[in-house]
C-alpha cells in the first residue's frame, strides 16, 4: 500500500462522510436534529396506548450479550473433563434456552457496574442460531452452514484446555466470537433489515411491525439493524477513545448517559463491530463509527418524518442510500480487522522463527499466534456473510488464510473427516505463509480500500527505506 493510495482512500472516506452529512442536513432542514438514537415518537396510526418512544432493539442487545457470554464460555474448558457440560452450556447461549440465563459477559467490573444480570432483563427467548447466516461457509472445513460451523466449533472448544487447541492452532473463543459477530449481526443487518425489509411491500410503515406492537414495520426494521450495529444510543457525542473505552469497561462516565451510576446494556454500551470501528477511528485516519451511527440516526429520522404513512419512493431511496453508507463502512470495519490481524499473524510468525532459530521456548508465542490467527480467520469468514458476493476475493482470502495456521510440526488443518475430526497434511513453509499475510493485507487494501491499516507490515519496508537514507542526494563523484 502506497502512501498515495492511503491518502486517496482517506479522502474518499471523508468525502463519503461529508456528502452523507450534507445530504441529510439538506433533507431534514425542517428542524429535527438528533444526536442520539432515540427516543423517537410513536407514529403508528391508530395507536392509543401509553408508549411514547417507538425505538426498540432489545432483541439485538440480547444477542450481543449471548455472543459475549458464549465467547467467555468458550475459554472455560479444562482439557476434556467438563466437555459435555460446557458444550451444553454453550449451546444454551447459542441455540437459546427456556431458562433465564445469567449474563456472563459483559459483567460488573470494578468501577463499571452493569445494570442487568440476566438475559431476560434485556429480552427473553432469544438465540443466536436462528439468526446465523444459513449459507455454506467455504472458508471452514466440512462444507457446513453457518449454524453448523458454530455448533462444531462449540463442540471442539468444550474439549480444549482454556479454549486453545495446540494440535490445530485453533483459538475457539476468538473463532467463535469473530465469526458469530459477522454471521449474526453483520449478516442480519445488511442482508435482511437494511436490504429486503426496506422494500415497499415488506414491513410497511403504515402498519405495526407485528400485531399489537406500538412501532411501525419500517421503524422496527431500522431499529433492529441499529441494534445489531451495537453502538450505544448516545455514542455519537463521544470521542472514538471514549467509545472504545466503554467497550473496554474503562470509562463509566462516558457510558452512563442517564447518570444512574450503572451501565444499561440496552442503550449505554458499545457492542460488536461498533467497538472495532471505534478502535480503528482512534487512529484519526477513519471515522467509521460516526459515519455509520449518524447514518442510522438520519435514517430513523426519515422514517419518523413519514408520520406513520407508507414511505414514499423518494424516502425509501434516501433510506437505501443511507443503508449503502452503513453497509460499505461496516464491511470496511471488518476488512480493517482482517488487515490488522493478518499483520499480527505476520509478526507472530517472525517471532516464532526467531525463537525456533535460537532454540527458545515457543509455547507462549505459539498461543499468541493462534489467538491472532483465530481473530483473522473469524473476521475473514465474517466478511463473507454480508450482502455482497465477494466471489474471487473470498476464494483468495480463504486460500491465503488456509483452514488452519501453519503448525510447529509444519502441518496444517486441510479438511474435516465425516466424523467431524480435523484432518491435517504437510503445510506450506513459514516464509510462504508469512507472505500470504502480506497478500491478505494487500487484498484488503485493493478490494475494500481500508484506510486505518493497523499493523501494516509494509511499514517495515518503509523503516528500511528510512534507514538507507535519503535517496534525494545531490552528492557527486
Amino acid at each position: 500500500m502506497t502512501k498515495n493510495s492511503s491518502i486517496r482512500s482517506l479522502v474518499c472516506a471523508k468525502l463519503a462522510l461529508l456528502s452523507s452529512v450534507t445530504f441529510i442536513s439538506t433533507a431534514h432542514a425542517e428542524g429535527h436534529a438528533a444526536a442520539t438514537y432515540g427516543p423517537f415518537p410513536v407514529t403508528l396510526k391508530g395507536y392509543d396506548g401509553s408508549k411514547t418512544n417507538s425505538v426498540s432493539y432489545t432483541g439485538q442487545i440480547a444477542r450481543h450479550v449471548l455472543h459475549d457470554s458464549l465467547k467467555k464460555l468458550a475459554g472455560k474448558g479444562d482439557g476434556g473433563g467438563n466437555a459435555a457440560s460446557l458444550e451444553a452450556e454453550m449451546m444454551a447461549y447459542f441455540g437459546g434456552s427456556d431458562k433465564n440465563k445469567a449474563i456472563i459477559a459483559p459483567a460488573d467490573k470494578d468501577g463499571f457496574e452493569i445494570k442487568q444480570e440476566t438475559l431476560n432483563e434485556i429480552s427473553s427467548g432469544k438465540n443466536l442460531s436462528g439468526k446465523t447466516y444459513k449459507g455454506v461457509i467455504n472458508g471452514w472445513p466440512g462444507m457446513m452452514t453457518g449454524p453448523e460451523v458454530i455448533a462444531s466449533m462449540i463442540k471442539h472448544a468444550a474439549q480444549t484446555d482454556g479454549g486453545f487447541d495446540p494440535n490445530t492452532g485453533y483459538n475457539y473463543p476468538q473463532l467463535i466470537s469473530k465469526f458469530t459477530m459477522g454471521a449474526v449481526s453483520y449478516n442480519q443487518a445488511v442482508n435482511n433489515y437494511l436490504a429486503g425489509k426496506l422494500e415497499a411491500d415488506s414491513k410497511p410503515n403504515s402498519k405495526p411491525y407485528k400485531d399489537g406492537k406500538h412501532y411501525t414495520g419500517k421503524e422496527h426494521s431500522w431499529d433492529e439493524a441499529f441494534g445489531y450495529w451495537g453502538a450505544a444510543a448516545h455514542s455519537l457525542g463521544l470521542t472514538a477513545k471514549q467509545n472504545y473505552d466503554i467497550a473496554k469497561m474503562k470509562d463509566v462516565a462516558a457510558a452512563d448517559a442517564n447518570g444512574d451510576g450503572m451501565v444499561d446494556l440496552k442503550s449505554e454500551y458499545n457492542f460488536g463491530h461498533a467497538y472495532y470501528a471505534s478502535a480503528f477511528d482512534k487512529s484519526g485516519k477513519t471515522d467509521y463509527f460516526n459515519t455509520i451511527t449518524q447514518a442510522f440516526i438520519d435514517g430513523r429520522m426519515v422514517i419518523t418524518d413519514a408520520a406513520g404513512e407508507n414511505l414514499t419512493d423518494a424516502a425509501r431511496s434516501e433510506l437505501k442510500a443511507l443503508a449503502a453508507v452503513i453497509g460499505e463502512n461496516w464491511e470496511k470495519v471488518i476488512a480493517e480487522a482482517v488487515f490488522k490481524y493478518a499483520g499480527s499473524v505476520y509478526k507472530d510468525i517472525g517471532a516464532l522463527k526467531s525463537e525456533m532459530d535460537s532454540g527458545a521456548d515457543t509455547s507462549k508465542t505459539f498461543a499468541k499466534y493462534g489467538k491472532h490467527w483465530g481473530e483473522l480467520k473469524g473476521f475473514a469468514l465474517a466478511l463473507q456473510t454480508g450482502k455482497r458476493n465477494l466471489g474471487e476475493t473470498a476464494v483468495r482470502l480463504n486460500r491465503l488464510t488456509g483452514f488452519g495456521p501453519v503448525l510447529m510440526n509444519a502441518s496444517q488443518v486441510t479438511g474435516m473427516d465425516p466424523d467431524g475430526h480435523y484432518t491435517k497434511d504437510e503445510a506450506i513453509s513459514w516464509g510462504e505463509y508469512q507472505m500470504h499475510m502480506l497478500k491478505i493485507q494487500k487484498l484488503m487494501v485493493k478490494e475494500f480500500k481500508v484506510v486505518a491499516q493497523v499493523n501494516d507490515q509494509l511499514e517495515n519496508l518503509s523503516a528500511l527505506a528510512d534507514k538507507l537514507g535519503d535517496s534525494n542526494s545531490a552528492e557527486n563523484d
Binding site: K347, G431, L464, A465, S471, N472, S473, A474
Partner: protein, 348 residues
C-alpha cells in the same frame, strides 16, 4: 528560508549519512597528515600548511562550490517533492512480486538472520556502487548528460565541497538512480527474507559506506594525492586515481568512473592507475575564455547545451533510419537489376 538553508548546510557536517560529516573530514585530515609526514617526508608543520592550503581552500573554484551548494538547496526544495522515492519503487516492486503468485521456497526461513543482514548490506553497497559507475559513465559518454556533468568537472581545485558542485538536473538523475537501487534492494530482499532484512550500520550508516567514508573518501576531492599500491588500485579507487579522472589531459579522458570500487573500471576497461596528482591540471579543457565559476556557466549554459544535444536525437535517429532505408532500397534495386539481366541473357 535563509535560516533553513544555513541549518541545512551545517546539518551536513553533523549527519554521518553525508560525505562531509565532521567525523569523516577529521579522519581525512588525519590520513592526509600521516601520508604527508610518513610518505612525503614533510614536517608536521609543513603537512598542516599543505593540508590547509589557502590557495585551494579560498580559491574562486572553491567558493563557487559553496555557492552552488546553496543555490541547489533552493532547487531541491521545489524539485524534491516531485521526485519518485525509494519507498514508492520498493512498494511497487514488492506488490508486483507478491502478485506474481510465485511459490516462495523456504529459503528465507533457513538462512540465519545475521547472514541475511550481511547479504543485504553488501548487496545494497555493491549495487549502489555499480550503478554509480554506470550512470557516471553515461554522464561522460552521452553529450546531453556531459553538458550537465561538465559543471562538476569545471572545478579547477578540488575540495570536499566539490561533491556538491552539481547541476540540479544531474541531481535529479542521481536521485532516480539512488531510488532505483534502494527500491530494488529493499523489495527483493523483503520478498525473500521478510522481516529478517536489516541494514548493518555504524552511526546509522551502511557499515561499508561508513568504512569508505572514514578511510578518507573526502580526499577524492582534495589536493592531497594519496596513491594506493598498484594491486589495490584494481580494487579500490584511490584519491589520486579520482584526481586523474578530473584531469584536463586528453589521455585521462573517460577514465576511473568508479566511486568506491575500481573493479568496475577494471572490468569495463576504463581503469587508469594513479599518477602524481601534483602534475595534473584539473578542470575542463575549454578553449573559450568563459569563467567556469560564473552562474551562467554553472546553470544556464549547461541547460542550453543539454537541450541542444537532446534535440539532435530525433535528427540522428531519423538520419540513421533514412540511411538504413536507402541502403535497403539500393540493395533491392541491385537485386532486381541482376535478375532482369539474368532473364535477358537467358532469353538471348
Amino acid at each position: 528560508m535563509y535560516y533553513e538553508l544555513l541549518e541545512n548546510f551545517w546539518g551536513n557536517f553533523l549527519d554521518p549519512k553525508k560525505r562531509i560529516f565532521a567525523g569523516y573530514l577529521l579522519s581525512a585530515i588525519l590520513i592526509a597528515f600521516l601520508w604527508l609526514v610518513f610518505r612525503r617526508n614533510l614536517s608536521g608543520r609543513e603537512a598542516v600548511v599543505k593540508i590547509f592550503d589557502r590557495t585551494v581552500l579560498f580559491s574562486r573554484s572553491s567558493f563557487a562550490d559553496i555557492k552552488v551548494f546553496f543555490i541547489n538547496r533552493v532547487f531541491t526544495f521545489f524539485i524534491s517533492p516531485l521526485l519518485i522515492t525509494q519507498l514508492v519503487i520498493a512498494t511497487a516492486i514488492f506488490n508486483l512480486l507478491i502478485s506474481l503468485e510465485w511459490s516462495v521456497s523456504n529459503f528465507g526461513d533457513i538462512v540465519p538472520t545475521p547472514l541475511v543482514i550481511a547479504s543485504f548490506t553488501m548487496f545494497v553497497f555493491i549495487l549502489d556502487d555499480l550503478t554509480k559507475y554506470i550512470v557516471h559513465r553515461w554522464m561522460h559518454k552521452l553529450p546531453f548528460l556531459w553538458a550537465l556533468h561538465k559543471v562538476h568537472h569545471s572545478a579547477q581545485h578540488l575540495t570536499p565541497m566539490t561533491i556538491f558542485r552539481t547541476h540540479p538536473l544531474e541531481g535529479v538523475v542521481f536521485s532516480m538512480r539512488s531510488a532505483f537501487v534502494q527500491g530494488v534492494s529493499i523489495s527483493v530482499f523483503f520478498y525473500i527474507f521478510g522481516n529478517k532484512v536489516d541494514l548493518a550500520t555504524i552511526l546509522g550508516v551502511n557499515i561499508f559506506v561508513f568504512i569508505f567514508n572514514a578511510l578518507g573518501s573526502n580526499l577524492r576531492h582534495s589536493h592531497i594525492g594519496i596513491r594506493y599500491w598498484n594491486w589495490l588500485e584494481y580494487i579500490l579507487i584511490s584519491p589520486a586515481q579520482h584526481h586523474l579522472h578530473h584531469s584536463v589531459a586528453s589521455e585521462h579522458y573517460d577514465k576511473n568512473f568508479g566511486a568506491t570500487l575500481a573493479i568496475w573500471d577494471w572490468i569495463f576497461g576504463s581503469l587508469h592507475h594513479s599518477v602524481e596528482s601534483e602534475t595534473l591540471s584539473l578542470g575542463v579543457d575549454d578553449k573559450s575564455d568563459r569563467d567556469p565559476n560564473s552562474l551562467s556557466d554553472l546553470y544556464i549554459k549547461p541547460l542550453a547545451t543539454c537541450f541542444r544535444e537532446l534535440v539532435k536525437y530525433p535528427i540522428v535517429i531519423t538520419n540513421y533510419f533514412a540511411r538504413k532505408l536507402s541502403k535497403f532500397r539500393s540493395c533491392a534495386l541491385d537485386d532486381s537489376v541482376s535478375i532482369e539481366t539474368t532473364n535477358q541473357s537467358t532469353r538471348h
